[in-house]
Amino acid sequence: MSGYAELAIASNFSFLTGASHPEEWVGQAVRLGLQAIAVTDRNTLAGVVRAHVAAKTVGLRSVVGCRLAFADGTPEVLAWPSDRAAYGRLCRLLTLGNRRAEKGDCRLGLDDLIAWGEGMVLAPLPGRGALAGEAAGVAATLDRLRATFGREWVRLAAQPLFGPSDRRRFAGLAAMAETAGVGLLAVGDLLHHVPERRPLADVLTAIREGVSLDAAGRRLTPNAERHLRSGEEMARLFRDHPRAVGESSALLERLTFSLDELRYEYPEEDLEGARDPQEALVRLTREGALRRWPSGVPEGVEGALAHEFAIIGELGYAPYFLTVHDIVRFARSRGILAQGRGSAANSAVCYCLGITEVDPARGDLLFERFISPERKEPPDIDVDFEHERREEVIQYIYGKYGRERAGLAASVITYRSRSALREVGRAFGLGEDAIARLSGTVWGSSSKGPRAEQAARAGFSLEDARLARVFALARQIAGFPRHLSQHVGGFVITRGRLDEVVPIQNAAMEDRTVIEWDKDDLDALGILKIDILALGMLSALRKSFELVERHYGRPMGLSVIPAEDPATYRMVRRADTIGVFQIESRAQMTMLPRLRPATFYDLVIEVAIVRPGPIQGDMVHPYLRRRQGLEPVVYPSQELEAVLGKTLGVPLFQEQAMKIAIVAAGFSPAEADKLRRAMATFRRVGTIHSFQAKMVEGMVAKGYDRAFAERCFRQIEGFGEYGFPESHAASFALLVYASAWMKCHYPDAFACALVNSQPMGFYAPAQILRDAREHGVAVRPVDVNRSEWDCTLERGPHAADRVVPRHGEQAEAIWSSHAIRLGLRMVKGLSAAAAERLVAARGRGYDSVADLAARAGLDRAAIQRLADADAFAGLGLDRRTALWAVEALEEGRREATTLFDFADADALFAAEPAVALTPMPPGEEVIEDYRTLSLSLRGHPVAFLRADLAAIRTTRAGDLATTRAGAHVRVAGLVLVRQRPGSAKGVIFLTLEDESGVANVIVWPNVFEKYRKEVLGGRLLVVDGRLQSESGVIHVVADKLMDHTARLARLSRAGETPSAAMASDEVGHPIAEDRGRTGATSELARLVREVPETARDLEELAKRAGRAMPKGRNFH
């Protein structure tokens, strides 16, 4: 017997059909002693790389294949490419089907297969129903395929069904194959790797069909037989047709294609006269070096360049640098700010090419962190672009390379605990209410699946068989891919056709195309990707530069900003950093007064230190103590002093961790990098223990304390995923410094630009503008006669004279002399198009509501929004008067009317008797401001309640600073931010705002349970608690919370509470550019446990994990 290869397997990349991971199929195939397997998902190759990688690890042969399903009634056909060329055609075929269809679908016809099927072994697979009805179609397909490709390329697949008459069916198929003159091929047509997965397959069917298990009837599998079988089993089932089983292994000789054959080829760039890419790169780098150092390249950099050139040359990476260089050059030519981040900043070449901005002369770069000759993986250059203009760059790439050569990497969206519970619960017929309650018991979004104990704690009985099954199956389905989405910005660009490397699909977004593989797949195959990322701060900086140039006549740019400006550091030390890149969050602000940054390098440390990596490695405390002189700076050894000197003996950066391994444990640089990467992916590689032993023993052998060695190792573990490389921190620190400098000297331009770049960053316009006003900048209301779409600057008072006392020491550094005029973009619900029409038709100004209606041609709803936002105040019309006038306008009138109509409208107005409306009370005006603009320049709503609040003895937030620590206080304010790190044990952090400032409130879980309603539902809270103060950071630890939202409602006659409008919970826009880089929820939970004082301020981390909680709803 010659063995068996299973060639028809649906992995779970046949979404909602296959019930096992590709890796599970491989494992089971090895256990059963199969010769090879082919994962053949339905019209996709999304799962083949995983199968390939897993098979390689265990030494199994994996065949690439696909199950083609047709839209024209053709029976399904299994296709396996025999060589690279045929594989390319398969990719083209699938791309063709994908591009024709909606996202996620693939429309193919038999003619397409005829056109592209050369070099593939093709096997029609009759369906699982009665053969009789299908026989004609199968026979016809067989004939057509054989006639086109020849009999040696065609087989008829037969699968055991365990139906009433399998042997009769096999005989029929054999006869059909005989007639067609092709061979019969035994396949499994499998859904799950072991019989025990049948329930999951059934649940997937129910989910797919949108019905409950009970209602799914015969759409479910009749038995558990679609599992992998050994060759002996197959031989027994096909005992009447032994050759059909042997055919599977015979085919292996023909199907020689392996994904290893995919050679990544860099796109060719214009070499501008150079002989080869390397020469072009050297020339460009040299030119760049001359610009960077007009007086000569420093010696150390010269050495680094030579080192890098050698490695780049050896590995042939030059074209890649040229491609990135070209993209960055394009962006610069359009005036789009761009800056490389991540490990690329370790490269002197990248600096010279202008891809990164971190001066290699300043630091000591570890190029191996970026490119390692031992690591057969392509370098990874991530470049940030202005978030509002990144699309231009993306379309440039598509335009230059074409959609056949460029595509975005996919990102595989998988089931998480909650989605798993929800969908499995539905399949089991649980009611929506029960499902909501169930998934409500699950905290976090783990991919490991829901834990039943959580539900048990919430009062669900797991004795109930149905519930127990829901949990068991939800745990199985968690981590299953649901669909492919697009990676945030990872581009794959190839020299040849990309659609012959991997199938390409349409993305959900217009004008985007996505390949079927994600970044891990690409990594595994050594295919290069360039991350084209979006960064809001770059947009804001460019806008603020433009404002300063226009209004102050001072040329601006990232490189123009003076270095090491003392006033800027003074401001940073005061934690006066609202709006500043990276260091604006509470976590960062808490750290600033302790770290007391005085130089650029301190900012680099600041950026790197508030990260899970250092926190997990327990490095923050020692560093702070040393920094504050509370602890002597000592080094474990002489050799490590060189490594850890700049960080006072405490490793804070990835590179340092690696260098410890190199210097103290005798690793090679490439080994050290492997170690770091092993940490990140240790589960897949499974080599962590050998590294741990090697490192710890290596260090002990060199005389280090074992405990220290183990701590170092733990730290690398944390760094693996969550630490910053120094180079990356340095790239970010450049933007920290630039934005801090702008805020320090031009708070008007800075705030204006920030508001115009929304949504981005951490704070909502209300907080940004409030901060600007506190720094003396006048902010003027929206005005139909003065406002543009964006906020603008207009001549105003000198800000330095108007700074509030709290920021008094900052005054002399402030050069602003302009006021911010709020733009029409602030008016909720007003479209940019409407605003443009208004501005275009403004002429010498509008003199009435009717005038504006007639000339700007806006519809009434738009004008009403303007009136609601009090934008007619400049005309002397208060809100109600303006609204009264708007109400008189004809509904839906859009077009500018003729002069005649005009006169008519006037006549009507004249005819109407004047109506005296009751003036709006001031408190209500403020509420209306918040409702329509999300902020008010008149005052703070809480100010109108001050008398009431004083009567119940509340302390103003601004007075907390002068209150004794440990005192019992009562504070009141609007809830700005509510959040809870993803752990059931987590504390809740509330930020309350009143007219004097913000109060930070901590709610411990036991208090939370008691005041759940208040914490979650209140817009205006009164909190009793104890004041805690540490290094100038003040918190109120809550004992009791009271919901006083009703007081707010009374301010407004309409009874509206400034709910979402007021709470800048809206800041919760996750920053897309950095999502996914930060730790998972469980890491946050660990953070909370281990370093409480940092943990108190997790806004930023939590937000990045996409978990800020608008209105306190979806915060768990």
Partner: protein, 575 residues
């Protein structure tokens, strides 16, 4: 009613602010202890109750009971938020049809005060009734007493209610929603409507929430303030209908209330000066009414599908009986007999009491009448006969109890047949029993045993057919066999642990690790527990013994995976 020219009308607006929750409490309370204490005041059960509805994908609370309100829940809150705030509360999805039914039942019940009862749907999502109580208040001790009585008696039935009486429906409605000042009933004296309504918020007269919001923002927060404005200015800005609403509330404009009961397609009635007193008379009247209606139906080419018989007794009660038919009919005899069957089926009789003075037959639903032409023998009338049988049996026994066997959607042979009501659309549909392919032997037996019968066998391992078997003490030699057809039980209905679910042991291993993990073998303990045939996977064989008889037998349990010693059963007989 003798006096047709009353100088003014009087209307009672009834508001049932917690109908959605009260009806659920009432239903729950009825089962256990229908003590009035438990149901009083709008209901009280163990957990706060809130009703939610969905608009698109969003789920929001739409009604809350008193307990939920005390916990801070209110209509309009997002469901998720409410859940987080009050985890112990019960959240039930809105049942608009059920609420309407409840409201209609209450409306019927309000017949006792006045026959003119209308469902009040002016304010969307709020349950209310309008009762025309013109000239009836004196029967109940005056308007104040009447209003109190209505509220109190509804309260006794578990419905929180409030009532107001005024000169127009709009004024009464405005007062009952916004002008009660904590009382449960209020009467606006004739002529006082305008002064009563003036201080109320605009929302009291205008159901258009968006418009009310606009009015509020302009500071026009009372009906009075609105009334003070120039009418043209109001009409221009807010539409003429707002003025209409204002005028209605001030009694300047009258809108008739619309009768509650739907108007039937066809109705015939006969009144009697002398009340009829015998059941036989009633049957005759029904027959003649059916005959009269039959003519109308014939003209329309239709037949009746539903009919309602209403009998007004002289004591003021109304008896209503309803029938439905599977196909359109006209035959008056048939109609009479269907009503008779219906009454018998309900264990009722026509209660003549002191006599009946009005009989009405109405046809809420009619359908195309399809004449069936008989053949010469006049024998083949099977279809109508069958339908007639279904109708008659249904009228007598309840339509749901007359069922038909249809192919079921399930793999298990037991589940391959389903009984559905013969009168339902599904039961009426022609259905094919598409089993097996043409030219091949049937895959299912003609006769399936309810209980598979154990047999002794000698069979090939692991999944071969038996060579011989003993059934009911007779030994059969198997000549030919086909199979196995493997059918597993619906695992999700088994007790947990008996199903083939994979264990949770993979919980902390990533799927990549599973590559190296041992397979999901089940322990031997589990194997033994699964021996019960109702739990085990079955391998069915169609066998033919040497004598030519054919059987459907199965092996319970997959050897090696589920059991070491499978048992055998005979489950059916082929012809």
């Amino acid at each position: 009613m003798s006096d047709a020219s009353l100088p003014f009308r009087r209307l009672l607006a009834l508001r049932l602010p917690r109908l959605a929750t009260d009806r659920l409490h009432r239903r729950a309370g009825r089962g256990s202890s229908p003590s009035s204490g438990r149901l009083a005041g709008g209901g009280a059960t163990d957990a706060p109750l809130a009703i939610f509805g969905r608009v698109g994908a969003a789920q929001r609370l739409e009604a809350v009971d008193a307990w939920a309100e005390a916990e801070g829940l209110a209509a309009g809150q997002p469901l998720a938020e409410a859940r987080a705030r009050v985890p112990g509360a019960r959240f039930v999805e809105r049942d608009p049809a059920g609420e309407t039914a409840s409201l209609e039942a209450i409306a019927d019940w309000c017949d006792r005060w006045t026959p003119l009862v209308a469902l009040d749907r002016t304010f969307d999502g709020e349950a209310g009734l309008l009762l025309d109580v013109t000239g009836v208040a004196h029967l109940f001790g005056g308007e104040g007493a009447l209003a109190e009585a209505v509220v109190a008696s509804l309260g006794r039935h578990g419905f929180a209610a409030a009532a107001a009486i005024a000169g127009s429906g709009a004024a009464a409605r405005a007062v009952v929603r916004h002008g009660l000042d904590g009382a449960s009933a209020r009467v606006i004296a004739p002529g006082e409507d305008v002064t009563a309504v003036a201080p109320l918020p605009a929302a009291a007269i205008d159901p258009d929430g968006e418009r009310v919001g606009r009015l509020m923002r302009l500071g026009l927060d009372t009906v009075g303030a609105l009334g003070d404005l120039p009418r043209a200015a109001v009409a221009r800005r807010f539409g003429g209908d707002l003025l209409d609403r204002l005028d209605e509330a001030c009694g300047r404009l009258e809108r008739p209330i619309s009768p509650r009961r739907p108007v039937a397609a066809l109705t015939a009635e006969r009144g009697f000066a002398e009340p009829i007193l015998s059941e036989g008379d009633v049957a005759q009247v029904v027959h003649s009414l059916a005959e009269a209606l039959g003519e109308s139906l014939e003209r329309r080419g239709e037949g009746l599908r539903q009919a309602e018989l209403a009998l007004w007794r002289v004591d003021g009660t109304v008896q209503r009986v309803r029938i439905g038919t599977g196909r359109a009919i006209r035959d008056p005899d048939l109609v009479v007999s269907l009503f008779a069957e219906r009454l018998k089926g309900m264990g009722e009789a026509i209660e003549v009491g002191f006599g009946i003075d009005l009989v009405r037959l109405s046809l809420p639903l009619t359908g195309r009448f399809e004449a069936v032409q008989g053949d010469f023998s006049g024998a083949d009338r099977s279809l109508p006969a069958f339908e007639e049988l279904v109708d008659r049996l249904g009228a007598r026994l309840g339509a749901r109890r007359i069922t038909r066997a249809l192919p079921g959607d399930g793999h298990l042979p037991e589940a391959a047949v389903a009984l559905v009501p013969a009168a339902s659309a599904e039961g009426r549909a022609a259905t094919a029993w598409g089993f097996g392919a043409a030219g091949e032997p049937p895959v299912r037996p003609v006769r399936l045993f309810v209980r598979p019968e154990p047999i002794e066998t000698l069979a090939e391992m692991p999944d071969g057919p038996p060579r011989r078997f003993r059934w009911r003490r007779v030994l059969y030699e198997v000549d030919r066999a086909e199979g196995p057809e493997r059918i597993a039980v619906p695992w999700w209905r088994l007790p947990f642990g008996l199903g083939p679910e994979a264990d949770g042991s993979e919980e902390d291993a990533s799927h990549a690790d599973a590559t190296f993990a041992p397979g999901g073998d089940l322990g031997f303990g589990a194997v033994e527990r699964r021996l019960a045939p109702e739990v085990a996977t079955r391998d069915y064989f169609r066998v033919e013994e040497v004598g030519g008889r054919r059987f459907w037998i199965f092996r319970a349990g997959i050897v090696g995976r589920e059991t070491a010693r499978p048992r055998w059963f005979l489950h059916g007989l082929f012809a």
